[in-house]
Structure formats: C-alpha cells, structure tokens
C-alpha cells in the first residue's frame, strides 16, 4: 500500500486539529455547504469548507438531518474489492421522487467529500463516476430528495491505495 502520499506531516496535523476542534463541525459545514449548491447559480462558488471536511458523524443529529439507515430506494454500486484505489468505479441510482442532489463520500479519505451534484427537474437521479480511495473504507452516497437526506453506504476493500 502506497501510504506515503497520505501520511504527509501537514495532513496528519490538520487531521488532528480537525479532530480536536470536534468532528461535528466538519460535517455541519459539509452538509450546510453542499446544501447551498443551487442549480440556477451560474458557477456556484466551490465549497471549500465541504471539501476540506476531515471527519463525519455526530453532527447529523445536531443538524437535524434525518438519515434513515439503508433505504432500498437508493442503489450504490461499487466493487467489493478494488485492486487499484486510484480508479474505483461507483454508481449511484436513486428512485426517490424528485432527487435533488447526490453526493459521494469516502469516510477514510483525506478529502472525504468526493463530489456533489445537483439535479434539476428532468434529470434522472443517476450518477456514475470513478473515485480515488486511499485505503479500505466506506463509500457513502448521500442523496437529497424532496428536501430530505438519505444515505446508503458500502464497504470497499482496497488492496493498493491510490492518490
């Protein structure tokens, strides 16, 4: 595993700082930020705080974001084992009415939030892309449909981390 690229001293320090500051804040910022991406904006400002977020969890409650565990209405397709962490194919398909947003996160990546897309009316709740994974981790699809957030996750074993 090519861990060297992730274990830079600065990253470790940043992560520690983030943890110290309380993981909740990171996700709060993350969700708040991705919630602000509006389809009508010409170029929505890139949400630095969201992509800088290093930790997940507790804040979901704090935010009042109701996340039912796995909903069968979202399908997250990813390989069980990824040999090359640099290119991991991921597909999210939501059959929820009025899917407004699909975000992909990897809980153990230095940059947790991979991508976030907004879906205007007429665009299917579907996204297929390729992501990087530093190590074995959980891939999370966060879907906003009709104003509510839903989540589906899947563990992907990574044999060679990619960056």
């Amino acid at each position: 595993m090519k861990g060297y690229c992730l274990m830079g001293a600065s990253i470790d320090l940043e992560r520690r700082k983030a943890l110290k500051a309380g993981g909740g804040l990171g996700l709060l910022a993350l969700l708040g930020a991705i919630g602000l991406v509006r389809p009508e904006a010409a170029w929505a400002e890139w949400q630095k705080s969201a992509f800088d977020a290093k930790t997940m969890n507790e804040a979901l409650d704090a935010l009042g974001v109701t996340i039912p565990e796995d909903t069968a209405a979202i399908q997250l397709t990813a390989p069980e084992v990824a040999e090359n962490g640099a290119v991991v194919p991921v597909t999210v398909e939501s059959s929820l009415a009025r899917t407004e947003q699909i975000s992909i996160l990897v809980d153990k990546n230095p940059t947790m939030l991979v991508s976030s897309f907004t879906y205007p009316e007429g665009t299917e709740g579907y996204l297929s892309t390729r992501i990087k994974m530093a190590q074995t981790a959980t891939v999370i699809a966060l879907v906003k449909a009709n104003g509510k957030f839903y989540r589906v996750s899947r563990e992907v074993k990574v044999t060679a981390g990619g960056c």
Partner: protein, 103 residues
C-alpha cells in the same frame, strides 16, 4: 493548456445518456515528485452540463475524483441532433467547454 472533453450522448426510450471523459490530472496536493517535493494540488472544481443551453447537471469535485474524471448522467427531454455542452473550471482558474450532438 487544457484538452478537449470527450462527450457521447445517446437517446433511448426518451432518456438521454451522456458519457463524459474529462482530461485532467486531478492532482490532490499530497503526492511528492521524485525529488521529494510536494506536487501542488491541481484539479477540476466545478462542472456544468447543459442541453441546448438549459442546465441538466451541475456539480463540484474534490481531489478524490480519479484522474481524467469520468461521468455518466441521464436526463429527459433530449432529441437527436440537440446539443449537449460540458463545461468545467479548475482550481487554477482554467476552464473549458465542449459539446456534442445527441445521437
């Protein structure tokens, strides 16, 4: 210099499927070169897809998206001959816009 985005858009049962391959290093800023120096982050931050000028998908990328980002999305309302445009902007401020015709 930026390289053209490959776009393929085809319609089936009223749904247009768009396959996109952007050409970009997507450098995450944590890798080191042979001399041990950090390679600065360089990646696409924003993406916008339009169908005849109407936005059909809009999104943002972080550094965890693979090199040469690949994307598939689907929308309704397209017809053969319509134009699909894919634009992106990266963290250095480079931008490009490419289009394809729905088949």
């Amino acid at each position: 210099m930026t390289s053209p985005t490959k776009i393929r858009a085809s319609i089936q049962n009223g749904v247009t499927e768009v396959r996109v391959l952007m050409q970009h290093e997507m450098e995450n800023g944590r890798r080191k070169d042979e001399a041990g120096k950090l390679i600065p982050a360089w990646f696409i931050t924003e993406i916008k897809a339009q169908h005849n000028g109407r936005i059909v998908l809009e999104g943002q990328f972080g550094t965890s998206v693979s090199k040469n980002p690949y994307l598939i999305f689907r929308f309704r309302g397209g017809s053969p001959g319509d134009k699909v445009t894919l634009s992106w902007v990266d963290n250095r401020g480079d931008a490009r816009s490419d289009d394809a015709v729905i088949t």
